[in-house]
Symmetry: C2
Subunit: 446 residues, 2 copies
């Protein structure tokens, strides 16, 4: 028998779903700063913004999908309409370019920073709703190889500005891999072998060897594959070694030539050679990519895996259009990256604040002066909060302290009389009586 | 019998759903500028960013919903889990504040600019997926009345900066309406009457009169209601007239006192009196608001209806928590507003561009110089695109022209020899040979 339950209103527990990130304001401020940085570099390179719908017709969105992807999709009916939430930003891009083909200017350089949705089994570090920050460059029929160098150079500036320590952009070319397997007479097994190779960072060389045996490969070829994968040295050394293999296969030679050109162009893009590296073990998404492929790792945190991946594809939108649309692109999975950075303490240690200053009126009698002061500060580009609640001074100061607002202006009768404000530095605790102009000067130069 | 169909791959038509806005890049740039402006003013006033999940548990999201709202919701199962897409930003805010109560600093000032989803029947100007740009201020137990003036003053600065022409923020107080009906002995009919009054702008005074008759009101009271609703004059006149009614009802008097205080505070906030107006016909959402209510109209386009509405509510989150959380907030429905502004030609007439300059190499031989020039410009904060495709000069210029990029730098052998660039003004057609430093100077001052 209910005793209180039938009197008290039943409350619903205000919870979110597992796998859906929701941040407290100070972390949200930090997250938004990262988004702003990424966006600003993307725009610096002339990428145009796009914002496709979250919900699409399943028939359209899933034209190409299948297997694992399809299982993860949030798909449902509204009335008679079969709908799906986007699971990446590439399929909507393909649909967009095909649909707006005549209105777009090629090469079409676009960025999109949006949430995507995948109903995966929730596990640590996996999100069901997460931000992707994508750039792609789509050519109309052809796309110059130098764009394969522009993409990682954009990423180089992004991660420089994000200030997450030393990172390496690892690069390969799918044609080199395919050509190499072709030369071994293993072209038909190539995608199985690539799938195994893709795991070498995670499972190690020996496990890869075993899996290749179980694919039915003989010892000789496995040994060739493994020594190919572990070619070492500088980028120039690796190019030289690949040339030295003397593989008589056009696909291989084209891939090698492409890789060499991309590497050379990256130098022209003024990308520090310490930040990019040929890595022959990188295969990426099995069917999609056809040329250059990229991964990015934080040197001090290789266990995070690739934080930014992509590559060149032969044809973006063949499910929607007869037009031939080659492209190259890359994606930062920001929600996952942010959550990992928080965990290892690379972000979120400091108090992040929106307001640069909080105005604290002693009481309501001076609201005119208080609000005028706030307006002057805001007109000078200073983010200004005002505490209007009728509380004690201690409570008012606590508001600034908990929000991490670095300066407080106290305004009472005395300040109004003198046409000044009591300017308090929340870190040092110092307080001075100064003019609003002096406040602006200090905050603008701080 | 298929003749070609079985040879040609079947293409899926790359279409979007009706009621889902998708913009071409130049409009998207303009849309994003509006978002940036709104966000920057929100932050100038110290509002903290929030980004709640798009998908929530139906049990949580719909704790309070019912009727029309519930029918519009995108609701579906993933496995055994009953999920819904958010249909506004207020319910997620309530859930957030209740769930993170101990981690938040009150008054909690937050903004959220996110898409919300409503499966309405599609009709002109109605969207099923649209952006809301919300600010709310939530008090812990109490919230000072001056925050009711801060909200419209933020909106005043937002619309000043959006530069959409003269606008008026119309204000009322629900307690005045409720108290007035109470004084007429019509308190139990209040919500029906308010629903009718809310339509006065749309259907006119006479239709309202008829509907009031059909609610069973006598002529005397209808006449009193209509003369009340049409009190004219300045804000001061209206306050005086309301005082002069001599209504002996506490609710009415409290509401009147509140409205007067809010109006006075708005003057302190330096909001131009021409931009806010008491409007006794405004009632807003029937059950939710309890005090001050707002609507905003563009003076020259009253037919757009309210482009920004909100008000004071007594308790934000009573479905989730025992805490008493009064608040005040307002929302801009940006997707609809943008679509309307486009239609009347107030936005989107000009070519909007991301890149300030396009570098056009004559051929590939000077890529080093080209890329160095691009890097220098970008390091000086100039958004710079480079055209790398191997096409004729006409095609290269067309790229800049169609994208609306105002300046082109042509770089060929001669430019490299002289360590200069050919700087072309795309509007005047003028072309000069100048140094990169001169380019920076011109673009930084332009």
């Amino acid at each position: 028998m209910k005793e209180r339950g039938d009197i008290m209103k039943e409350k619903v527990e205000p919870r979110t779903l597992p796998g859906f990130m929701e941040l407290l304001p100070q972390d949200q401020i930090m997250f938004n700063k990262m988004v702003d940085t990424i966006r600003s570099v993307y725009e610096e390179f002339g990428f145009l913004p796009l914002d496709t719908p979250t919900i699409e017709l399943s028939e359209v969105l899933l034209a190409k999908a299948g297997g694992e992807t399809e299982k993860q999709i949030y798909r449902f009916f509204k009335g008679d309409t079969d709908l799906s939430l986007r699971f990446d930003l590439t399929v909507p891009l393909a649909r967009y370019v095909a649909g707006h083909y005549n209105d777009l200017v090629f090469p079409f350089k676009r960025y999109q920073i949006s949430k995507v949705f995948r109903g995966e089994r929730p596990q640590k570090g996996r999100f069901r709703e997460f931000y992707q920050c994508d750039i792609d460059i789509i050519g109309n029929d052809t796309l110059d190889l130098i764009y394969d160098a522009e993409i990682p150079s954009v990423i180089y500036y992004v991660f420089q500005k994000l200030n997450l320590g030393k990172f390496t952009i690892r690069m390969n070319n799918r044609k080199i891999l395919n050509g190499f397997f072709e030369s071994l007479g293993l072209l038909s097994n190539a995608s199985d072998i690539l799938r195994v190779i893709d795991k070498i960072d995670k499972i190690g060389r020996e496990a890869v060897q075993e899996e290749l045996v179980s694919l039915g490969l003989d010892e000789n070829r496995i040994s060739k594959i493994l020594s190919f994968l572990t070619i070492t040295g500088t980028n120039a050394d690796k190019i030289a070694a690949l040339k030295g293999l003397g593989i008589d296969c056009e696909t291989f030679q084209v891939g090698l030539q492409e890789l060499e050109t991309v590497i050379e162009s990256l130098r022209s893009f003024q990308v520090d050679e310490n930040y990019f590296q040929i890595d022959l073990t990188i295969a990426r998404g099995l069917d999609y990519y056809t040329g250059t492929v990229y991964e990015t790792i934080l040197d001090e945190y290789p266990k995070l895996g690739s934080i930014c991946s992509g590559g060149r594809y032969e044809n973006l939108a063949d499910y929607y259009t007869e037009e031939h649309l080659p492209g190259v692109g890359i994606s930062i999975g920001l929600t996952r990256l942010f959550s990992q950075l928080k965990e290892i303490g690379l972000v979120g240690e400091n108090k992040n604040t929106i307001s640069q200053v909080l105005i604290v009126p002693m009481d309501k009698s001076n609201n005119g002066y208080v609000l005028e002061t706030a307006s002057i500060l805001r007109n000078n580009g200073i983010k200004t909060d005002v505490y209007y609640q009728d509380k004690g001074m201690k409570q008012k100061m606590k508001y600034a302290d908990r929000l991490g607002i670095p300066y407080v202006l106290v305004i009472g009768e005395n300040e109004v009389k003198e046409s000044k404000v009591a300017f308090k530095d929340m870190i040092s605790g110092n307080q001075e009586l100064i003019t609003v102009e002096e406040v602006i000067e200090r905050l603008t130069n701080s």
